[in-house]
Symmetry: C2
Subunit: 277 residues, 2 copies
Amino acid sequence: MEKIRIGICAPSTPLYPEEAEQLIVSTRKSHPAAELIFHDQCFAIEGHFAGSDQLRSDAFVALANDRHIDALWFARGGYGAARIADAILSRLQPAAHDKQYMGYSDGGNLLGALYKADIGRQAHGPMPVDMRRENGMAAVERGLNWLVHQDESSLEAHVQSDQKYAAFNLMTLAMMVGTPLLPDLDGHILMIEEIAEYLYAFDRALFNVTSHLAGKGLAGLRLGRVSEVPENNRPFGEEAEDIVQRLCARFDIPFLGTADIGHDVDNKIVPFGALTT
Amino acid sequence: MEKIRIGICAPSTPLYPEEAEQLIVSTRKSHPAAELIFHDQCFAIEGHFAGSDQLRSDAFVALANDRHIDALWFARGGYGAARIADAILSRLQPAAHDKQYMGYSDGGNLLGALYKADIGRQAHGPMPVDMRRENGMAAVERGLNWLVHQDESSLEAHVQSDQKYAAFNLMTLAMMVGTPLLPDLDGHILMIEEIAEYLYAFDRALFNVTSHLAGKGLAGLRLGRVSEVPENNRPFGEEAEDIVQRLCARFDIPFLGTADIGHDVDNKIVPFGALTT
């Protein structure tokens, strides 16, 4: 049987080598049809990052341009993907188009940029680093179920095949607004999630995003989980969903309810664009 | 002698009434040519904000449209000005044009929106809330020296009369990027400052801003103080000035050195646009 070969690199921050070894062992059992190929760059450390911009770009490009690799999986978020997105895109060859790309959080910069450039199929979903969470292998295996088997039970339950979607961490998305990384979201349902931001910062970032997307044809917005909200010195006065409803109403964007995504083990998969394309 | 009447409202977060009383008393001595008029809205509290969006808008509009008021001074930053900027601008009458506006931090949203709309003269400078800092009255009095006497020794030392400027808190500016609040900065020297952000978040926000402004004719960038940077779980690997130099080089924006602005008592005044206009 031809294996599904999944290349893993770290566009943002690093993993530990032991984590890679552990994932390779467990995946052999859970997904015998898959082969995980961790690029050494996953374990590089340079300050905040998994190696220099050049090293991270090179690893991504090497895997993306390898026609023997079927999927490129982002090891972990953090920060760093935006810095290398344009360098990567300028170096991608035809083999990069026939590929799946999956990650979330800071990885949204690359999902967005690849989607905008129409290179491959992108999905917002679990990453190898999710193994660190309690019961985190459930998230990792859901990710593999999608990458290896295109298992539709891995999908966020609201995803319908005749509709275009995109999903982002809100702060990541806010920092893409106004830059060349942001794809056209006309006709899309946008799902957002957030972690570890004060509610005033959530409001501020969503103001930025909804103000920017107002009048640009967004089909609707869904709110994923907003977790680990720090206590501020005074209560914000609204919950996250109230904030979303208010800003959607203000900027005439349909608010469609919740989304089953977040920085947690229950994070479901949201393919970019429409499943049928 | 006709007094310079300075109206004070709080577009973001509130002051305490005792602070207003204290400032009125001290200003009578330090600036007898000035009269401070605190709008009651400065002391309103609704969750995070100094009253509802409506209340904060109404107070700003009332002072801005009052032809007996010479300057509108933002009491304090925090978060909230972006939410009311367009409502305010739509209600301003001719009296609002013949006025000074001063503040910083979150108030940058209003400075930027007013500057873009060519309403009044805007300055990035101290606010009443700076009285809370150690030796904070030095900042407050510098602000008054500018509003009351147009004292050029209050100005940031690099400000030259034949050059256009703008100054912003970096995170505030990043959240204006891609929204209608951001003015055209073609030909301007931009000064930025930051407080209480991780260096990775500083890099991320400056990537957003410089990526957006690339090719848009910015005359240069100056870096104010980057203070109260939290410790991250690992060092970022660069200092703030290194980040600015790298991103300016990448996006072909002249880096001009430091700026004497920040969330501190030494925060100097940066008028928007050119002094001679």
